[in-house]
């Protein structure tokens, strides 16, 4: 057991400040355990979100020593006892109270994405897909909606372009539909116009923080940008892709 100092942001949308808490830390604890201990013993009304405590629900995103992290997956033994550990809410979204912020903007972005639209089933009424074809979609569907990627994307965080860019989380959601072997919706115009694919300039900061290790930039955003470019800027490539795609696996490539 050892004693640590936590410097936690306390406050609401009107005002706030960092408050120091000294607390015991046991072997094997993660940051979330420590926050719970502080809550139970010293700060009963300290607001924070969590559910699964195992990196599966994406509720506990916060900034620990300036880095976006899942509190439940951040082990205390990655910090030194003499360091002060600073904890604050995700900066990109408006704070509600303490470590909880208003992430409702993300739910609004999801609505901009057209629902899944499957083509016809096989004659036996069932759908067939090969594991190989669903692998890349499954990578994107691992997303736990923790919004850490949204938090670091400079388009949203620094340039505040929440009006035009849906952010990396929803780019991968669009990719998961666009690359879904059964989906027949043409999503390219929306990806450019509604989702704002052009605003991403491939800094890969989102990929670096994703706790699910999704290759957001390389596997989702870049291929989508390429498709947009093909469609709008080079009709020959677009047509070519479309035609060869038809021979590969149905209506879309």
């Amino acid at each position: 057991m050892s004693e640590y100092t936590f410097r936690i942001w306390r406050g609401d949308s009107a005002s706030g400040e960092f408050v120091d808490y000294q607390t015991e830390v046991d072997d094997g604890m993660v940051v979330l355990d420590v926050l719970h201990r502080i809550q139970a013993e010293q700060a009963g009304d300290m607001a924070l979100r969590w559910n699964c405590k195992a990196g599966k629900c994406g509720s506990c995103g916060m900034e620990v020593n300036g880095k976006p992290k899942l509190a439940c997956m951040t082990r205390m033994n990655t910090y030194l006892e003499e360091d002060v550990i600073t904890v604050q809410p995700l900066k990109t979204f408006p704070v509600i109270k303490d470590l909880v912020c208003d992430v409702s903007w993300n739910y609004d972005q999801n609505l901009k994405i057209r629902p899944f639209k499957p083509g016809p089933a096989d004659s036996d009424g069932r759908y067939r897909m090969s594991q190989k074809d669903v692998d890349r979609v499954q990578e994107f569907r691992k997303c736990i909606e923790c919004y850490l990627c949204q938090d670091v994307c400079h388009v949203l965080r620094d340039h505040k372009r929440t009006d035009v860019f849906v952010g990396p989380r929803f780019m991968i959601r669009a990719a998961s539909l666009d690359m879904h072997p059964l989906d027949v919706e043409d999503r390219i115009p929306d990806i450019r116009d509604e989702l704002g694919s052009g605003y991403c300039n491939i800094t890969r900061c989102c990929t670096d923080v994703c706790p699910e290790n999704i290759s957001i930039t390389d596997n989702a955003i870049i291929p989508l940008k390429e498709r947009v470019a093909d469609r709008y800027y080079d009709p020959i490539i677009w047509l070519n892709n479309k035609v060869s795609g038809l021979f590969q696996n149905g209506s879309k490539t």
Binding site: D45, M46, A54, V100, Y127, Q131
Partner: protein, 611 residues
């Protein structure tokens, strides 16, 4: 205080679904499809409910991996796993409709793992005769909740997130509204509605070692009970055999049964595969009796029987306990779970990625190279709100329920994978039930202002009792009391627990939550204490009355199943004076066609034939 409710924010809906897990979402989608104005409230953000954590898979007799499977075999497995206490009609509907509900998810965009010929793949799980669990790696719950969420947001459902339901309101016996509060502001909110569908999940937080999150405090069970609904089978709480046990801070976190489904084995400190010593007579015929046969099963030999690690959860959990008691436990009081020596590293990472990740990050164990240490953890409530099998309506007109907060479907023990399918089937049916009910309502419903005033007064009390009890510490005390209502029970322990719970009640009424009502977890915790204590008492009292050991309920003073109890369900409801009424109720005689399936030989069912 006057009873003026006009200043409370108010919404009008035809139906309000309380809870946004798999059951609530599926119910809301159906309500909306049926043309009802549908509201849905949930304590957390949308998509974070327990369902998101489900790992192993959803059970449905699709017959993709073994064509011998069909709904009858699924029904038979479910009833046998439930030790013949399941509600017959629910188990029947569940087995019949699960496959269609899973296929429907695929039409809504779910991406399950595939068989070599491109269909939904299915993995073996405890108590299921054939590989039956459709899955997406070991994050099936995420796949399902996200599919329902992304489909649901386009169906016109009004979602009210981070809103906690406190009390059901009635107009001369019928449901007419729900009172709740917003977590962020602490303000009260009123939903006028013709029907409510309860889908709030379980109550695992009354136990210390649990796979459940803070949300599982039995709110829905308490709200329904207080409104006059009956509860059934409350003594049956499932301990999952494999929770993490080390380090202490992760104790209880689930290790999916999928590890054993993929070939993982349980070992004691002497490196013995001890489960071979614990196969109950009822399952001997269907269980491998040597490691050699178990290996052939793993290699795909259709004539080999399932390994004993895949016996039902109650059996495996108790076997681990017995090994520990006999001094053959692992260093931290559990057993070893070994997949590393059974499958190659790449396979493990592909089929069990989140287990790999979870152990690596939280315990610094590489499961492709090392053994895991595991032990029982409270996981699931078989007991809950009693409903009509076809409509999902409770004893209260206009109140429906589905998902883990209900009881009856799983009897004395739930099979893995049967919860996710339960959510889909009964969520769907509850939506239909609510539609039928709302359609035949003939008069407008009223809200009684005094009922709201009373609930409001009670809810704000903890903010004003300076010097009262600490909600977090009181919660710990409750968990201590529940050590007597654990995986094994005795009359003495249960009586002690009931007595301690009585003493706890006045202290719960005297809780103090510092701070304001604005996003205040201390206050939220204070408000969840009453439901937790109520559910704890129901479990303890039902456990005391059932003088036998069956499924998840083990009485050291009454070992083994007793014939006279095989036909009894324990039902509870609230008396007019607020005390708990508890009754032994004779079970319905099963209709002939179901009795025939339940007691049939497997060979008769595998043809899918005459029964």
């Amino acid at each position: 205080m006057n009873a003026d409710i006009s200043e409370i924010q108010t919404f009008d809906h035809d139906v309000v679904v309380i809870g946004a897990g798999g059951a609530g979402l599926r119910a809301a989608i159906e309500c909306s499809a049926q043309g009802l104005n549908t509201g849905m409230i949930c304590k957390s953000l949308l998509g974070k409910a327990h369902t998101v954590m489900a790992e192993g898979g959803v059970a449905a007799s699709l017959g993709h991996t073994d064509q011998r499977d069909n709904w009858k075999v699924h029904f038979r497995d479910t009833i046998r796993g439930g030790k013949f206490l399941n509600q017959w009609r629910m188990a029947e509907l569940h087995a019949q409709h699960a496959a269609d509900r899973v296929r429907e998810l695929e039409e809504w965009g779910a991406v399950f793992d595939r068989t070599p010929d491109g269909y939904i793949n299915q993995r073996p799980f405890g108590g299921h005769r054939y590989p039956r669990l459709a899955h997406t790696g070991d994050r099936t719950g995420l796949e399902i909740i996200r599919t329902l969420q992304d489909y649901g947001i386009h169906q016109g459902i009004h979602v009210h997130q981070e809103c906690t339901g406190l009390k059901l309101l009635k107009d001369s016996g019928r449901i007419s509204g729900v009172l709740g509060y917003w977590r962020d502001t602490g303000r009260f909110v009123l939903f006028r509605t013709k029907a409510v569908i309860m889908s709030t999940g379980g109550a695992g937080k009354i136990w210390r070692v649990t796979s459940n999150s803070w949300e599982y405090t039995g709110d829905g069970i308490e709200m329904a009970y207080s409104a006059g609904a009956e509860l059934i089978d409350m003594e049956f709480a499932q301990f999952h055999p494999t929770g993490m046990i080390w380090p202490i801070s992760v104790r209880g976190i689930l290790v999916t049964e999928g590890v054993r489904g993929e070939g993982g084995v349980l070992l004691n400190s002497e490196n013995e595969r001890f489960m071979f010593n614990y196969t109950p007579d009822r399952f001997k015929e269907e269980t491998a009796d040597s490691p050699e046969e178990a290996q052939r099963w793993l290699d795909g030999d259709a004539s080999a029987r399932r390994p004993p690690e895949l016996l039902t959860r109650d059996v495996v959990a108790k076997s681990i306990m017995k090994e520990v008691e006999a001094g053959r436990g692992s260093p931290h009081g559990g057993a070893y779970l070994d997949i590393a020596s059974r499958r190659d590293g790449e396979y493990i990472k592909r089929k069990l990625p989140s287990m790999y990740h979870q152990f690596k990050e939280l315990a610094e164990v590489d499961i492709t190279k090392e053994r895991m240490e595991v032990g029982p953890t409270l996981h699931y409530m078989m007991g809950g709100i009693a409903v009509d099998g076809d409509t999902q309506m409770t004893a209260v007109p206009g109140l429906f329920a589905c998902g883990e907060c209900t009881g009856g479907m799983h009897g004395a023990n739930r099979l893995g994978g049967n919860s996710l399918s339960d959510l889909l089937v009964f969520g769907w049916l509850a939506g239909k039930g609510a539609k039928d009910y709302v359609g035949q309502l003939s008069r407008p419903l009223q809200i009684v202002p005094e009922h709201i005033e009373e609930a409001r007064r009670e809810a704000v009390a903890p903010l004003n009792i300076e010097g009262g009890e600490n909600p977090y510490l009181l919660h710990e005390e409750l968990q201590n009391i529940m050590n007597d209502v654990n995986i094994v029970r005795t009359a003495d322990g249960l009586k002690r627990a009931i007595e301690s719970l009585q003493k706890l009640k006045p202290r719960v009424a005297n809780i103090y939550a510092a701070g304001s009502s604005q996003y205040n977890p201390g206050w939220n915790q204070a408000l969840s204490m009453r439901p937790m204590v109520m559910v704890a008492e129901a479990v303890a009292r039902a456990a005391l009355i059932r003088e036998e050991s069956r499924g998840a309920h083990t009485r050291l003073d009454f070992e083994g199943e007793r014939e006279e109890w095989g036909n009894i369900n324990v039902m509870m409801c609230q008396n007019a004076d607020g005390s708990m009424d508890i009754r032994k109720v004779q079970r319905d005689v099963p209709p002939d066609h179901l009795a025939e399936i339940a007691y049939a030989n497997l060979e008769d069912l595998e043809g899918g034939l005459h029964v």
